[in-house]
């Protein structure tokens, strides 16, 4: 016999009623598995969504504030004429000075690049249409764009196009595009050649190149005028967590006197998506938690049965010198053992089932072995053990407080 005879008695009682104890522990197993696999699924989903979104959410878009009465943001003139310079006023575009200010303010947090944007009539062969056209500084081309086929434009007569745009208009390397309305005498018309097709980018906050023509700054200014009058400045953050700091830095730098610019923080959108995922996870976990309530009832029932069956034994133990707290401990030990065994089996099964659930629901187990995901296993174990102890407290208290004389009398 070990020194702790009270613990020994608990172990023996469990062994004596092995099947009953096992069934009670099974409730805990199911509860732990349910809670942890749901938690892991949520964590994996959040991590996966975060990664997918952060590719596009790490962007701050700075645009000129249209000022006083006008309100709203400038999305490009859209009129289609080359009247950019004539119709522009200072506060519709971001100036070179403002760009420098932005670079000074947030250059440390990531890449800052300005962007021209317009929309114009185009002609490919005999086919006419409209296209979004972006203008980028030469030095930004290489960092911002990824070419799938061909190369980046090196001359003022070459452009790259997005893959969807290329497909829609049947463009290949070497195809010529006429930009501008040839019928309009006042319009500037330029013929350009496609030298590269960009890699598909998907949804993006900074610029949607998939369905656009991208040309060097010089070509753009040649077509539309307005040199150093940028439509927007994008900041690609190295760390998405800097979004708030960077936004504040830009606003401090430029909006001190009046609101010169507005900053769109795309990470906000991601925050709301991840928060929705985590709300759903909590909800699903709460449903899984119901299984632990069932387990608690089962443990409570087993403990009550154990106490009722052993009333006489408790009477004997008390009459020969076992203290109340020792009897209490004996039953709490029993609950703890059931909890530990249930939680341990549950933890092992959670890893297996959780892995399968994550694979089935999230589609990837890339994040399965991360802290955020695996933390749900010990968490569920702790909840399981706590519930066992909680369910065991009343039966144990009842056992400890039995009148020894009454207990001895029972059969």
């Amino acid at each position: 016999m070990t020194k702790d005879i009270i613990l020994q008695l608990s172990i023996r009682s469990i062994r004596l009623n092995f099947l009953r104890s096992l069934l009670a522990a099974l409730g805990i197993v199911i509860g732990v598995v349910a809670i942890s696999s749901m938690g892991m699924m949520g964590a994996n989903m959040t991590l996966s969504v975060t990664e997918e979104l952060s590719a596009m959410a790490n962007v701050l878009v700075v645009k000129a504030n249209a000022g006083g009465g006008g309100g709203g943001m400038i999305m490009g003139p859209g009129g289609g004429s080359s009247s950019r310079s004539s119709s522009s006023s200072d506060d519709e575009y971001i100036s070179k000075d403002q760009l420098d200010d932005i670079e000074r303010a947030v250059g440390q947090y990531g890449l800052v690049y300005p962007l021209y944007q317009d929309s114009e009539t185009i002609e490919v062969g005999d086919e006419e249409g409209r296209a979004t056209i972006y203008g980028l500084r030469d030095e930004d081309m290489a960092t911002v764009l990824t070419v799938e086929e061909g190369a980046l434009p090196k001359t003022t007569s070459s452009v790259v196009v997005g893959p969807s745009f290329a497909e829609r208009h049947g463009l290949t390397i070497g195809t010529r595009i006429t930009i501008g309305d040839e019928d309009d005498d006042e319009a500037v018309v330029q013929k350009v050649r496609v030298v590269g097709i960009l890699e598909e980018k998907g949804m993006s906050m900074d610029m949607n190149t998939d369905n656009a023509i991208v040309m060097p700054e010089k070509t753009f200014v040649g077509l539309f005028g307005g040199e150093s009058e940028y439509d927007q400045v994008n900041v690609i953050l190295k760390d998405i967590n800097d979004a708030d700091t960077a936004t504040e830095a830009i606003e401090d730098q430029l909006n001190r006197k009046e609101d010169e610019v507005t900053v769109q923080d795309s990470s906000r959108m991601m925050e709301s998506i991840t928060s929705t995922v985590s709300t759903l996870t909590t909800f699903v976990m709460a449903i899984a938690g119901i299984s632990l309530l069932v387990a608690a009832t089962s443990i409570f029932n087993v403990m009550m049965m154990s106490v009722t069956e052993r009333i006489r034994e408790i009477g004997i133990l008390r009459s020969i010198g076992t203290r109340k707290n020792e009897v209490l401990r004996m039953f709490i030990y029993e609950a703890v053992i059931l909890g530990l065994v249930g939680a341990a089996i549950g933890a092992i099964m959670s890893l297996i089932l959780g892995w399968l659930v994550v694979l089935a629901m999230v589609g990837t187990t890339k994040y399965f072995f991360t802290f955020q995901s695996l933390i749900y296993v010990p968490m569920a174990m702790l909840i399981g053990i706590a519930i066992c102890i909680f369910s065991g407290v009343y039966p144990a208290w009842r056992a400890a407080n039995l009148d020894p004389i009454e207990a001895l009398r029972s059969d």
């Binding site: 005879i5 010198g321 203290r323 001895l408």
Partner: protein, 226 residues
């Protein structure tokens, strides 16, 4: 007599409050038992002898009066102190043996020893006691359910003695045994008395009572004659 009596009751009253009205189980009872005595407490059922036994055994406390066990007033003791008194000063022998079913015979005897000393018996006391009451090593490994009534009562006697108590309290110790086995148990208790132990037997069996030095007869919660 100047020595402190091992048990002293002075005007002990025990009332059980019941919905149908209070039940007076012990009525201003006064008894004195000295160290080394062999006393039989006798009386018909309902006379209050079981109540008296529970008071002496520290399982219950009187409603009023003074009850001193080894000089200590048990009415002033906490539950833990009463439990410790049962562990250290009293050896219980029950009619139904009352061994712990989960433990072997050896472990049953060792159990109070561990509770008291907080360690296993390394002195050989448990084995010696079992041997003294006629339980061999092989039998000592059995659970109570695997032993006969007589063997169980022997184990219970060994258990009662393991912490060297001041009082051996026996509640109808032969009540569940056949005559022959009962006689053997009585011999054992008489021998223990001869060794100097205080033995108190509660019984309604005159043949058991006769073997005691003194008989205290209880009727309606009062001492009939001492």
């Amino acid at each position: 007599m100047t020595a402190v009596p091992v048990i002293e009751l002075r005007d002990v009253t025990k009332i059980y409050p019941l919905p149908s009205g209070d039940v007076l189980a012990l009525d201003r009872l006064s008894i004195r038992i000295d160290r080394g005595e062999f006393v039989a407490i006798m009386g018909p059922s309902g006379s209050g002898k079981s109540t008296l036994l529970n008071q002496i055994g520290g399982l219950d406390v009187p409603t009023s009066g003074i009850l001193r066990i080894t000089g200590r007033n048990i009415r002033k003791m906490s539950d833990d102190e009463l439990t410790d008194l049962r562990l250290n000063a009293i050896g219980y022998i029950f009619q139904k043996f009352n061994l712990i079913p989960l433990l072997t015979a050896f472990e049953n005897v060792e159990y109070p020893y561990i509770l008291k000393h907080r360690c296993n018996d390394t002195t050989g006391r448990v084995s010696k006691l079992l041997n003294d009451v006629g339980i061999n090593k092989r039998m000592a490994k059995h659970k109570p359910a695997e032993l006969s009534g007589g063997q169980q009562q022997r184990v219970a006697i060994a258990r009662a003695l393991v912490n060297d108590p001041d009082i051996l309290l026996c509640d109808e110790p032969t009540g569940n045994l056949d005559t022959k086995t009962g006689a053997q148990i009585m011999e054992m208790l008489t021998a223990l008395h001869r060794q100097g132990r205080t033995v108190i037997i509660v019984t309604h069996d005159p043949s058991v009572g006769e073997q005691a030095e003194r008989i205290i007869r209880i009727k309606d919660g009062k001492v009939e004659d001492a």
